[in-house]
Symmetry: C2
Subunit: 432 residues, 2 copies
């Protein structure tokens, strides 16, 4: 059974505040190990990568080369069920189309006194994409991370993926091919992150590293941040479903379980104004949970972090939703517009009863990499903007410098910065 | 004397690579102290703030209240030289105008099969602005950090500034008034960052913290990241000047010194195709440096990190500039267009001989908070985008779900996620 909270109860605020700050992640302190691995890769390059792959993945690069060849990628593509290929291709087309609309436009203009100002966007020169191995190896994530980089115009996309005994999930390679990723290395862990950040004899360094990974990968990304850019460090997934009474409890239970099955730390929350619906959803969750392949994971997540919150009316859900700031928010209500307009904080909103969050995981077209752990209060999901950067441009002629220079000199002097003042004054013949 | 490098020399690549990786910051390990301060503020709130302010700033909140009152702000405004006020107001108007163009537009549309897709931007609900005390207390930085938040529509902007014996630089308060910041607290250091992130009895928590600070502030920002958003952790400032032979060496020397006077770790680099100009600039730097108020700082920066790089022609400067990825790049050449078009990595570009970087520090209109330490390869200067976040919106009807659902089920099954598949299937009566 999940937690049951009622807003009408006297101690609701204290309970809700405690619920919000519940830690859902076991944080392993792997920094010492990770730092040693990074130093080793910086010092020994390819030789270090070969040692770690032999040790962790039982892999000999002399037999199975570090770089995955084109023939191997094509063979994997050919081996995947054509129905899955078709679904990936549909997803890719929709993701690419939607993300194309996110390309920022340069804005270069002259203001009223003739000063040239500009914001110019350029693609990041090279990006590394980490893809986890094992059960966390999701082909859909390859599309979600790689396609926005393609759309942004990133000229070089490098994928790394750990390969136990050399094996890589063929669907992951098929997704890479569909996304146009050609430079793929059979490496993983902190050593792969180090190789991407600092380069080795074989792998040229990149400027940014994206993609999910385990505690070692996350720690390694934190370590190399600054040398390269990184994306957010994602926590366990969440869904918040706001539902009125006119819902099929089975549908909502299925949606809550779709988050819960991801991870024992995942979180599924239902907010409703109808107690009967709340109880019916709880019962449906218990029934459905038993039949899942990952029933143990889903049960632990629902028991430890799931919640049903009863509110007196749907408008009362708004401030709660803003405080939860869910990664995924479903509005399973008759008239979603008022809620949609009123809620400020959510990674993605799924509107209406026919938009289960799972559509957004795969084929909706929007990105499934979204801010977790309440970070939707201040950050956004992955987009084309994560693969470009802006250079600001300023251009004055002698006349504009005469117009603006004196104010700059005044401010530089007031801040005690002589050389600042002089670099303007000298051009206006005000210097000495 | 700064470093002198010639691209034509045999060992240039090794020398340049070493130059690029020179560490310019002394990193103090203050994590233990910072963590203790943060824990203390979380546990004791206002009482902890009062203790730290008494200890570090010689300040008694019973006498001088923590919050800076409106009368005090107005008095400070009145006490500042009217010429400085006028310059700040000119700067504010230009910054606000330029940044208004950066407001991202929502994009809500329906695709060809009737799926509703959207990107909706909302302002962050509350932002904290850290302003350093002492010599690093720059009124211009108050404008540069606060005005983009105003333009973004952030409803609550909170400023914190350490106040030795209660005193705050009146120009900083004047800048805050001009930027429309009304909630100001006389606190600083890691304790101020903790108060902004977690809140106290007096200070409601914010969702993001921006602004420069010393090692303690930077470490505290790293610690609270995740609980709140943070801006970049800025390193020492840099300028790269690309110059042809037709320059007044005195002008360029002044520009190089305007960076060098900031900090002993600042870096000023000249790339030129004319050895005579290079030598003349070096001589001018040595002459001008003696007359600066901060001559010791500037001399140390120029001696330890300054460089003149001689290239055979200006086109050869392009790949070097992209590897340096300077925070500030001046193009002091006859025809800047080809360089401007070819260079990918720079925080801001100042075009032509009449655009000293200092104009961008104060009154150009663009932001002076820019990526340092080569991070312009993957990140951008501060903008309105740093104060908003994007929610993606997806809306399907029954018909669209019938169209896209089967592909989502296929992919969910191929990833072994039963509940994902079921949450779609159950709505299509494909479930059991």
């Amino acid at each position: 059974m999940a937690l049951w909270l009622e807003q009408a109860s006297k101690d609701f605020e204290a309970q809700f505040a405690a619920f919000l700050t519940t830690k859902r992640e076991v944080s392993e302190d792997v920094n010492v190990v990770v730092r040693a691995i990074i130093d080793d890769v910086r010092a020994r390059g390819d030789a270090a990568l070969a040692d770690y792959s032999a040790r962790f993945d039982g892999l000999d690069f002399a037999v199975t080369p570090m770089r995955v060849g084109k023939a191997e990628i094509d063979a994997a593509f050919g081996a995947v069920d054509p129905e899955v290929i078709a679904a990936l291709e549909l997803a890719a087309i929709r993701i690419e189309k939607h993300h194309s609309r996110q390309l920022p436009k340069d804005d270069i203009y002259e203001d009223d006194i003739g000063v040239g100002l500009g914001s110019r966007w350029t693609a990041i020169e090279a990006v590394g994409l980490y893809v986890p191995g094992g059960t966390a190896s999701y082909p859909s994530s390859v599309l979600m991370n790689a396609l926005p980089a393609k759309v942004a115009g990133v000229p070089r996309i490098v994928m790394v993926v750990p390969a136990l005994k050399g094996e890589i999930n063929p669907t992951v390679l098929a997704a890479a091919r569909i996304a146009g990723v050609e430079e793929i290395y059979r490496i993983g862990g902190a050593q792969a992150v180090a190789a991407l950040a600092y380069g080795t004899e074989t792998i040229a360094p990149v400027a940014k590293i994206v993609g999910p990974g385990n505690a070692y990968v996350a720690a390694a990304k934190r370590h190399v941040f600054g040398t390269v850019g990184i994306d957010m460090i994602a926590g366990p997934s969440e869904v918040l479903v706001i539902a009125d009474k006119d819902n099929d409890p089975e549908w909502l239970a299925a949606d809550l379980l779709a988050q819960a099955e991801h991870d024992r730390g995942a979180q599924s929350i239902l907010i409703t104004d109808d107690a009967a619906l709340g109880h019916a959803v709880e019962a449906a969750v218990e029934r459905q949970i038993r039949r899942l392949g990952r029933s143990e994971t889903a049960a632990a997540s629902w028991r430890d972090f799931g919640a049903v919150i009863l509110v007196p009316d749907l408008a009362s859900a708004v401030p709660l939703a803003d405080r939860i700031a869910a990664e995924h928010l479903e509005l399973a209500v008759d008239d979603p517009e008022p809620l949609l307009a009123a809620i400020r904080n959510a990674g993605a909103i799924f509107v209406g009863r026919h938009t289960p969050e799972v559509i957004g995981d795969y084929v909706g077209g929007s990105n499934h990499v979204l801010p977790t752990a309440r970070s939707a209060r201040f950050s956004s999901g992955l987009s084309v903007l994560d693969y470009v950067k802006r250079t600001s441009i300023l251009r004055l002629g002698a006349e504009q410098l005469r117009a603006l220079g004196p104010a700059a000199i005044t401010l530089a002097n007031s801040e005690g910065l002589d050389a600042h003042a002089r670099s303007v004054a000298i051009r206006l013949n005000l210097g000495d």
